[in-house]
Structure formats: C-alpha cells, structure tokens
Symmetry: D3
Subunit: 276 residues, 6 copies
Amino acid sequence: MFYTDNKLQYPVRVDTPDPLFARALQQAIGGVEGEIRVAMQYFFQACGARGNPKFRDLLMNTAAEELGHIEMLATAVAMNLEGAPLSLKEEGARDKAVEAVMGGMNLKNLLSSGLSAMPVDSDGVPFDMSHIYASGNIAADMTANIAAESTGRTLAVRLYTMTDDAGMKDMLSYLIARDTMHQNQWLAALEELGGMTGAFPIPNSFPQDREKTEFSYAYLGFQADGGAPVPGRWGKGPSIDGKGTFATGKLHPSDQKPDLGMARPDSGAQAEQIAG
Amino acid sequence: MFYTDNKLQYPVRVDTPDPLFARALQQAIGGVEGEIRVAMQYFFQACGARGNPKFRDLLMNTAAEELGHIEMLATAVAMNLEGAPLSLKEEGARDKAVEAVMGGMNLKNLLSSGLSAMPVDSDGVPFDMSHIYASGNIAADMTANIAAESTGRTLAVRLYTMTDDAGMKDMLSYLIARDTMHQNQWLAALEELGGMTGAFPIPNSFPQDREKTEFSYAYLGFQADGGAPVPGRWGKGPSIDGKGTFATGKLHPSDQKPDLGMARPDSGAQAEQIAG
Amino acid sequence: MFYTDNKLQYPVRVDTPDPLFARALQQAIGGVEGEIRVAMQYFFQACGARGNPKFRDLLMNTAAEELGHIEMLATAVAMNLEGAPLSLKEEGARDKAVEAVMGGMNLKNLLSSGLSAMPVDSDGVPFDMSHIYASGNIAADMTANIAAESTGRTLAVRLYTMTDDAGMKDMLSYLIARDTMHQNQWLAALEELGGMTGAFPIPNSFPQDREKTEFSYAYLGFQADGGAPVPGRWGKGPSIDGKGTFATGKLHPSDQKPDLGMARPDSGAQAEQIAG
Amino acid sequence: MFYTDNKLQYPVRVDTPDPLFARALQQAIGGVEGEIRVAMQYFFQACGARGNPKFRDLLMNTAAEELGHIEMLATAVAMNLEGAPLSLKEEGARDKAVEAVMGGMNLKNLLSSGLSAMPVDSDGVPFDMSHIYASGNIAADMTANIAAESTGRTLAVRLYTMTDDAGMKDMLSYLIARDTMHQNQWLAALEELGGMTGAFPIPNSFPQDREKTEFSYAYLGFQADGGAPVPGRWGKGPSIDGKGTFATGKLHPSDQKPDLGMARPDSGAQAEQIAG
Amino acid sequence: MFYTDNKLQYPVRVDTPDPLFARALQQAIGGVEGEIRVAMQYFFQACGARGNPKFRDLLMNTAAEELGHIEMLATAVAMNLEGAPLSLKEEGARDKAVEAVMGGMNLKNLLSSGLSAMPVDSDGVPFDMSHIYASGNIAADMTANIAAESTGRTLAVRLYTMTDDAGMKDMLSYLIARDTMHQNQWLAALEELGGMTGAFPIPNSFPQDREKTEFSYAYLGFQADGGAPVPGRWGKGPSIDGKGTFATGKLHPSDQKPDLGMARPDSGAQAEQIAG
Amino acid sequence: MFYTDNKLQYPVRVDTPDPLFARALQQAIGGVEGEIRVAMQYFFQACGARGNPKFRDLLMNTAAEELGHIEMLATAVAMNLEGAPLSLKEEGARDKAVEAVMGGMNLKNLLSSGLSAMPVDSDGVPFDMSHIYASGNIAADMTANIAAESTGRTLAVRLYTMTDDAGMKDMLSYLIARDTMHQNQWLAALEELGGMTGAFPIPNSFPQDREKTEFSYAYLGFQADGGAPVPGRWGKGPSIDGKGTFATGKLHPSDQKPDLGMARPDSGAQAEQIAG
C-alpha cells in the first residue's frame, strides 16, 4: 500500500522560469531514463519478486522514493512554465521573440496540459511502459536497475550543465546524489546475490553443460576481411564470471543455406512462389 | 559497412514444427530482450562512440553477429510455422483442434507475413526502437548491454525449457552460449573502463562535490510507519564505488508545500481556478 | 511524497490458479481502463492542479489508493500463474492440453516476467502514458476521471462475470465498490465546481460571445439524403448547460472549395504538381 | 455508408500564414483531444451500439460531422505552411531568422508531408487508436465523449488565444461552438439514459449487492500521518447516484503480506530464488 | 464534408458466429494492411493534394468508400462475437472447451468493447496513424496506395481461405473485388502521371544531374566474399525509368574511417572519453 | 550472416555543423521513409522469401547496403551536432541565441544520446517496427519497396534542398542516386514477376472467379449529390492488369440496416441495452 502527504522530498525552487528548460526536464519525467521508468520498474519488480523477501522490500521502498522524484520534477516543470507565452501577439503586433520561445517549447505543455508537466519526454513522446523491465530473475533485474540509474544520472548531469538557474542546480544536485546512491545500492544488491562470479551468467540456475560451451567464452570476429577483431580484456584471460577462459577466434559458419522452399498453395503468395 | 553471405552462423533445425513455439520465438526476435534490440543497440552505440576507438570496433563487430542471430531465429520461426493451419475447416467440417492451434498462434504470422517471422514480440507487439539505449557515455552503454544480455539469456533459457524439439534445443544452446560470452564481454569492457571503483558513479566525469553529498550514500526509508527499511549490504560498509560509506537513515522532507497558485487568465482553466 | 508498507489494502486470494484469467486481469493493470491509468492520471492532475488546493489533495490521496490497487492486481496475476505450464512436453510426450493452456496465456507473462504481472493489457500491449489526461482545467479533468472510472467499473464487472473463483470474485467485489465510490467522488467534485450549469461548457472561462453562437446549441444533420437526424433530448428544449436552447437543423456548407493550388518548386512534389 | 462532396463545412481563411501555428493546429488533428479521436470514437461506438438504435444514429451522424472538422483543420495547416522556409540559406548566406522559424516547425510537416497536414500531434507524435474508447456500454461511452469534448474545447480555446490571425480566430470560433453543442449533446444523451441517478454507477446492470457495499460510498484517507483527507462534497451527504450516503473514513489494511514465495525450478530465476 | 446513411455497402451475414474469426477480421480493420489505414491515407492525401484537383477528388471519393468498409467489417466482428463465452464456468463446473475458445479470442473484444469491434489488429495492437503515408508528392502517394491495396488484398484472400462461413466468404468476395479495382485504380492514376518512364524516379522534379549519376543505375554487390550479386533484370539492360542503363558492379568503399574523436567536457561522457 | 569493416560507403563531410540539420537528418534514419525502415524491411522480406531464391539474395544484398546508409547518416548527425550548445548560459549571462539554437534541436540528441544519432525521426519519435512490411507475397513486397524508395528519395531531395552545406549535399547526392537505383531495382524485380499484367491483381494466385467480379473493375462514386466521380484513366478502357475493363458507376447500397440488436445480460452493458 501507498500513502502520501503534502510535502516535497527536497525544495524545488526556480529563480528564472525558462520554458525551454521545462521541456528539457520532461526528459527526466517521461524519458526512458526518467523517473516514471524507475518508479514503475522497481514497483513491478517488487510485485513479482520471489525468493528472499528483503529484495521485495528494498524495491518497493525505493519505488516510493522515486514517486516523490516525479512529483518534484513535475513541480519544477510547472514553475519553469510560469510566464510562458500563451499568445503569439503582444499588444497587437506580431512578436518574433515570443514566437522563438514558443517554438522551442514542447507545445503540448501549453495546449494539452495548460502549463503543467506531462508523462512525456523532452520531445513530447509519451512514456511507454514496455520500458519497465521486471524479469522475474532478481539478478537480471538488478542489472536493469544499474543501467537505469547510470543513464538516469547521466541525464541529470546533462540537465545540471544545461541550466544556469541556481534553484534548478540545487534540486538537480539532490537528484544526482540519489542516483549515485541508487547505482551503488543495486550494485550492492548484486553483490549480495553473489557478485560477478556468483550471479553470472544470468540466470545462474541454468546448467552450463547444456549450452554449446565451445562458444561460451569465445570472442568471435565478424570482420569482412576475415581479420581478428580488436583485442581487449574480452579476448584473453579468465572470464569475468570465473567460469571459463576467454579465447579469440573466428566463426566457421554452418554450411546450411537458409531456404524455406516453395510457398504453400492458399497461403496468399504469388503463383510463381507456389510449387507447380 | 556491412556485407552478407548466404549462410547461417549455426544450423537451424526443426524436428516437429510447432506454431505455438513459433510465437514464443518471436519474443527472441522482437521482444525487448530480443535480438533486434541488441543488434541495433550495439550498432547505434558504435555509431556514437567517442574516445578510444576500440569500443566502436568491439560494438560494431558484435552488432554484425547479432544480425545473424535475428536471421537464425527468423528462419526458425518460419520452419515452425510449416504446416500451420490456414483454414478453420478440414474437409468440410469445423475442426476444433485446428481452431485451438490457430487460437494459440500469433495470427499476424499467418495473416500479415504469410507464415514468416515478423519484427514483433510473442504477443504480436511490434518492436519499438526507443529500446535502443545509446547514451554517449560508454560505461552507461556497457551497463545497458549487460542488462540486455542478462534478460536475453533468461529469455533463451525459458525458450529452451519450453520446447522439447531437439533441433530447437540445439540452436538455443548455441544462442545461450553466445549470451554467456556477451555478458562476460561487456563486463570485461566495463573492467577496462575502470570497473566498480573506476567507472562508477556513472558518469565519472561529474565532480562529486557538486552533488548534495549527504544524500550520495544514504539508504533512506520511505516506510509509512517511519521504521527503518530492510537491512542489507546497501545500508552499511564502504560503497561499491569506493567513494563513500553507506549509511541508513530517514529523509526529513522539505517544509515546502507544492502549490502552483492560481491559473493564469487565458490559459484554458476553469474560471474558479483563475484569480479574481 | 509517498510512503509504503508491506500490506495489501484488501486480501487477495486465488482458490484455483488460472493462467487465462491472469491474462484477463492484465487488462485491469495495463489496459486503458486499468489501474495504472487512474493512478498516474490522478497523480499528474494533482501535480498540475492550480486554484483551490483541495482538489490537489483529493487527487493525490486517490492516486495513493490506486497504486495499492495495482499492487493487489499484480499479486493476483502472479497467483493465477502459479502452476502455469513452463514446458510443452510432459514426461516425454507432446501434450495438447498443455499447449492449449499455454496458447491462451499472454506468453510474455512467462517469457519476459517469469510468471509475474507486467504493465501490459490482456493482449500484451504495453500501457502508453498518452492516456494520462491532465488538462490543467480542473473540470475537464473531472470528466476524464468519471469516464475512466465508468469504463474501469465496466471492466471489473466483466472480470467478475468471467471468473468462478471465489477468491477472485471477493477481490473484485472490493474493487467494484471502490469504482462506485470514485465515480461518485468525481461527480461530487464536479458538483462543487458548479455542476451542469456552472461548469459547462468547459472551459467556462471563455466568453461565449466569442464563439459562433448560432452553432452552439444546434443539432445538425449530416444525413446523405438531407433528412433530419434522429430526434432526442439533444434536439429540443433548454441546453443542459442552461445557457441556450437546443435547435435541430441542417448545415449549409461553405461555398469554399478546398484547393491548395499548385505545389512550390523545390518542395519535393512531382513536376506535374508544380506551376510551369 | 459515407458520402463526400467537395465543400468545407465552414470557411477556412488564413490571413498571415504561420508555420508555428500550423504545428499548434496539428494538436487539434492528431492530439488525444483532437478531431481524429472524436471522429473515430463516435464511429466505433456507433458500430458497436446495442439497444435503442437512436444512439447508433446519433453517434454516426456526429462522426460524419467530425470528419469534416479534420478536413477543415488539415486545410488550415496546409495554408499556414504556405511560405514556410524550405531551405536554411537565403541567397547564399546562412539566415538565422530562417533557422529559427524552421526550428519551431514540426519538421515532418516539411520533410514527410511536403507542407501538408499529418495525423500527428503538435510534437509530431502520431495518433494512436487506443484512444478510441468504445466500451459496449452506452452510458460509459457518453462519459468518454463528454470528456473528449471538454478537453477538445479547452484545446480549441487555447488555440484561439494563441493566434492573432482573424481568419483562424473565425474558424476556431465555429469549432468552439460545435464543441459547446457536443458537450451538451452527450450530456443530453446521458440524461436520456437516466442521468446521474439512473445511469450511475456505470454499468447500472450489475447488482450492487454483489459489491462490498461498505466501501461503495466511503471516502478513504491514504495520508501518511493517518489524518483525515481533505473534506468536500465527496465525504458527506447523499451520494450523487442517489444510492448511498457518503462517509469519510480510514482504510484498515488487510493483514496479508504480499509474498509469492520461492520461484519454481526451470522458471529462469536465479538459483537463490529457488527452493533448495 | 462527409455524410452518412444507415446502410451497408454490401450485405454482411454470418452463418455461424466464430470468435476466433472475429479476431482474424480485426486485422482487416486495424492491421497495417487494414481499412482504417486506407481510409485515413486517402483522406490525408486528398487534404494535402496540390496540382491537378482531380487527384484530390479521386482520393476523397475512395476514402468515403473505405469508411464504409470499416463499417462492414466492424459489423462482421460483432456478429462473429455473438455467443462468445462471457464466463469460464458453465453450470458450476470449469469448462475446458470454453477456456479454449476464450483463450483464442482477442480478450479486449470482450473486456474493453463488450463484444464489439475495436481499432486494433488481430493481436489487439492498436492502429498507429504513422502508417498514413501522405507525402505531398502525388506519384509517391500512388505507390504507397498500390502497396496498401496489394497487402490489403493479400490479407483479404487469407481471411477468405481461413473461414468456411458462406456469409463471410460472400462479404470477403466483395472486398477482394474492390481491392482488385483499387490496385488498378492507383496504377491507372500512376499512368496518368506519366507511368514508369514519366513518373520515375520519384520525385521527377529533381534534376538528375545533381545526383551522383555513376551510382544511379548501378547494381552493387555487398557479398562478403566480394563476389557478384545474383543476376537479374535489375543488373543489365535499360533501366525501368528509361533514363539510364543498368550495370552491375562492386562498391569501392571510401577510405574514410568513421571516427568522432574525443567527447566534449560537460557532455556527460566518461572521463576516459574526454580529451585530457 | 553479416560482416562489417571500419569503412564508410561514401565520404561523410560536414563543412559547417548545424544542429537543426542534424535533427532533419534524423528523419532519414528513424522516419518511416528512413533507412532503418528499408534495411529491416529488406532483411525480413529476405528471411521470409519463398520460391525462387534469387529474390532472397537480392533482398539481403540490399539490406546490407542500407545498413551502411544508416551508418553514414548516423555519422553525419553526430558531425552536425559538433559544437551544439550544452548550456543555456554563456559566461554568466543568459544567451537568447543559444536558447534559439537549442530550442530548434531534438533535445534527446543532447540529453539522451550525448550528441549522437538515435533511431528516432526528426521530431524525436522512435521508429516502430510495424513499418516493416514483409507479406510473404513477393510481388506485394516489391510494391512496398517501390513505395519506400519513392518516399525515401522524396525525403532525401527535401534534405538536399534544405541544406547549403557542400559536404552534406555531396553525401545526399550519393544517397539520392542509390534511391534512384533502388526504385528501378524493385520495378525490375516486379517486371521479372510478370509486371503489370502478370503480377496484378496481387496475389495473382487467387482465382478471380471467386471475387464478386461485377465490382472488380468498377469505379464507383460516393458523392453526396449522387453525381459521377471525377473522370480519368481509372474509369474507362482496359484495366491496367489486363484482366478487365474499367467501368464507372454508382453503388446500390444493400438494404441491410446495421443493427446488432440488444446486448446480452452479463456483458457489462447498461440495463437499458439489455432485452427485458
């Protein structure tokens, strides 16, 4: 269950409203790296968590936090839209400066939501819940969370760079700090799940003798000239999961020519595709 | 540039065609954990890679491999659709068994593609390229790749469990092995980028003294009863990134009440929302 | 801000797990009439509410409730998936009954989420946040909420009809009751905003003398034979908003022929479209 | 069946073409509050209408009208794009003013449609037909239509405010008037269906003694401090549907802890999630 | 403008309702080859048609026809859903046959629309208006229309094959005939626009001396072994547009190595990507 | 299988980086007329090709070429983003010129991808793989390919017009030439498949005596005044497919009134819709 109060986690202050920055902040709400994504991802991972219940609790606790982040950002978007132009004219004359500001805005923030935030990204594309990765495998979920917080913190840093508003920089410095924590938090959870050598390859419940093991740790080249691919840690030495040794090689393709043969009658193909 | 030949990376054999398994395989083509996703993700990450060019080469090389995986799976889908019913009748009588098989299929595999594979998932939902994460931050990209291969191998393992077809199990044992390698490969790339303590928090180019550091390593509870959240590695000891120490605490909310005030005249609000 | 605990609002009990009913329940989570929609819609409406702050509070309070409904339904989906087949074979033999059950499932519930709920509808289509209507006009928002709860309760009633599981019927009888309340709640809010004659036409802040008033209360026929459209309350008597009188008539089209003329050179049109 | 002629319902005149206003008008075509939505919604509701056939006729008649509105708006978009820049240069020199105008346009209006309208919103996002609410319940459909016309008229009013073009204002004053009528029309239809006390709770065919009636008219608080939620008409007095009395209270959560237990072997979970 | 009447273009009769065939018919409504697509495509092409007005008239006339096809198909879907199971039980006992039928249905046809048609495809995926191709180039539009009618007739033929219902076969024989006409109609329009040698390459208004003409009629091989690609009409003889001669060759790649260099400071890249 | 090298097909040069042109180029990557579309369309058509294997080879060969086009365009996007503003301030002062440039950009190119290309269109809308038409009918596929290359070349021509950068014009002159070839190539393939009179109506395997032949070549008017539709080649003379003669006429509607009757009890309809 969830409960709410009428407070913000951290103060949201906008010194100089900027409709373009409102548009940029929308990415942190409804972008694929944004807060709806993490809030809903942790929520659904929690709802489907099996095994040690502490992971469910950890996930749901963080989902609650992230809901509050959406609230902060939505407030910041609305504040940045204060004073946005509603009309292309000003005192009877066409105003090119007004048109420029309006052209840079996400127009739906004006036309659809009346100067409020929306669950869309910085280009007005609505968030699509297929981005909620909740796999039923708790370690795979942790990797998805690390990725989400890594791209999320990158986004927050870019927003911090973009603005020169002291209030907005202050809010973002809080959100960046929370992303630092959340990256570490999910890395710590992965450590509890066995870390590099215990958790990987994910899922670790599949007996590796059922995979074609000659391909399990082979770094294969797909270079047109048949040459070796670029060397690196991935091509030699023990594998990171501790269960094999990296080798570098070249794939010997199958002799099989992909050929589906003729089409069946009545399958809607052209007559020429159908066996005579 | 890309080149092709008329070969498959690994043999694709279907002993007993099964239209329902064809539908399941579609998830490995057009699902968010599928092969279009990784092929295109590595491709776009390569195209945008800045810095040491070996990462570009590594990414593009693997993109070429993944394109071949889509080809294998598309061939497998078509082979499993061999013999799928095209008609609900058989010799003049309604056939309930035929109806059951057809009901379990992805009907677009019959109606739209004529018994071939499509870039859709197992429920017929088309793949949406917003799932291509290419952030411009090479370490963040690696976390996204580890996540993709972790959910990808989980999917392949589930498909392996689902089928009892020896040919399909053989093909999947190859793909699972490659997922093992790719998980390790991206983990190795992350190690080259500094690993846990060098690469994190991502992006590592942002000076941490600009974040609100009192929140950077604090595990905060959002429990309705004000109690402590569930303990774990994430709440005490050195942080995984080696740059702080985990602490557990409780957030003290801001006193700020989120209040946008009255609406502006001419903003399309109700009269009651507008200051008199 | 949001807080959570480890409780369910109302008991979730499944007497006989049914994977097909799990699929049906997904509609109540990720369908356009589902609980993600209302939770997020009330949340975003609250975040953008201007004017009397009690509407913000009412909306956010109900958003918190709806988040708990998602949690209940996600638990119900996972419980109904208990015992779902993971494999098409049973003891070495192909099992047509198993295939039928699996064919009726949303396969992503097995392949993507490992027998857990997902933010998708009953056909596996992910929820798209463009369905979050938050207009910045508090009365328009209330009409959207009434519509959401009306289709939502209709869906819940259909699910109640579909299942014969006593546990599921009990849970649904709770959710249906809450939908009854929420329909009434938003109707009551609309009453506070002036009701039929005070709030309509929405937005009521637009001076009606600026609209072409001869068309404001005219019920116009678009019948091919030029005949009158079907009579009803909408064609005579005082208008519902109390500001006009319904009339029935026929539109006299404009004499204007829609004609864009020739294409501009360099606009990518065919040569024939371009003025010579 | 449908028929067409080569006329516009109402004159479309643009005094001063404005590419940015063309972009804004796209919201009225392909936005979720736009004319494609209502045209198609009434069309599909008509096609699925059961019971008194007059509702089918009313819906289809209005669908025909709305198709003409799309046509008017598409004409207006094309007219506003007259004179839009096709090139970033002007007589050999880079022109920043040109770049500013083009930057504010929906570029697809130039690149994809050659200065014509598209079925997309003001940010270029294509209309998605999941927004067509046609529930099979005629009263629920009416609530969806009232909501559509309320947000639709709000949008039209915002467009009216935005432009200073007399031709565009004239066209919008017609469309606003029609939205006034359509709000009233669907309210009138709802009145014919029994109004507040006859139609609600929707669906009114479900026997209310099957719902958990202690929750049917209870306004429950989900406040973190356990306090009462904000008072209003929704918390006391007779319910709007006339079938109960509002009460205000607090939910007593279930004692049930959501716990899915251990994962099944072969379900693709981590080994740690699987019972030993 | 559009007008309607209360008639069907051609009789719609269902002898034996079949919920699975209802699902299949949805593809002809909301699939990418379906009738919403052509109705809306011709409508938007008409609205944006510049040049000889007869193309606008032809397009709008056909759009009106296609709207009637949607109506026919929606009626057919609803008729096929007559008698679909609403409940998984029958007289107190679980009924596996009922479950099989329901499992094969598009569940939204029951849960969301109450046994009516929806603007979705056969897998329940909503139609997305990005499939409306209206390019502003009348010849390009004709090619899109030919493609739409070609896949559309292929779909209709597959539906004809699938069903054994005499009424449905009769309706489909009408729709297939119209697709035959429409393929021919758009081919005829292309002929009026100059046909193969007059209209192509599209757009024909671009002076071909501005393209790199050595590549304009060269059939290039991208075979990994450097071999020649498969021969055919496309590799020798006069080009179809009559403006060149096909040649077969091999691309000599540019010497340019794609290299974006180092990342900029403050761009959110890792420190390792940024020039020291 | 696919192979890669570290080369570009044709040189990519940007003389003056222009962030707005980068946004425009995105349409050629992720627009529905863009290169992802053709690359993936030819790839999936190849994977599903049945009948003469030369079509598979032709398609896969061209898919390889198109992948290289995406690479070129992605490189061009990144190069055009060189020097794009990362911050709205410059040396402490708000800079309106910077804001204008940033307002015209696709903000995700900065916020999500760090100045790199993304698989989105010029308005930031992600490419959706439902645009991959692969019908299983080889002639229908060819029509889809002709359409794709026709809209694709139109787009490339518009981009050529838009830019005044000599490097970009040079790159586009290559891509336009390849589109010329590809239009001709697919027209040639259609010729091999029988051309106008052999391949049409598609699919040509359906016996035309099963269609309602009185409608197969009839150009029908749907004019509100009952008048004849606009004359043209489509209304008289031999049909293009050589199998009939065009006639012009008027449809005589069916007498059937679309009427679904009353709703079933328990179907979630209103009581008024249910037979008493």
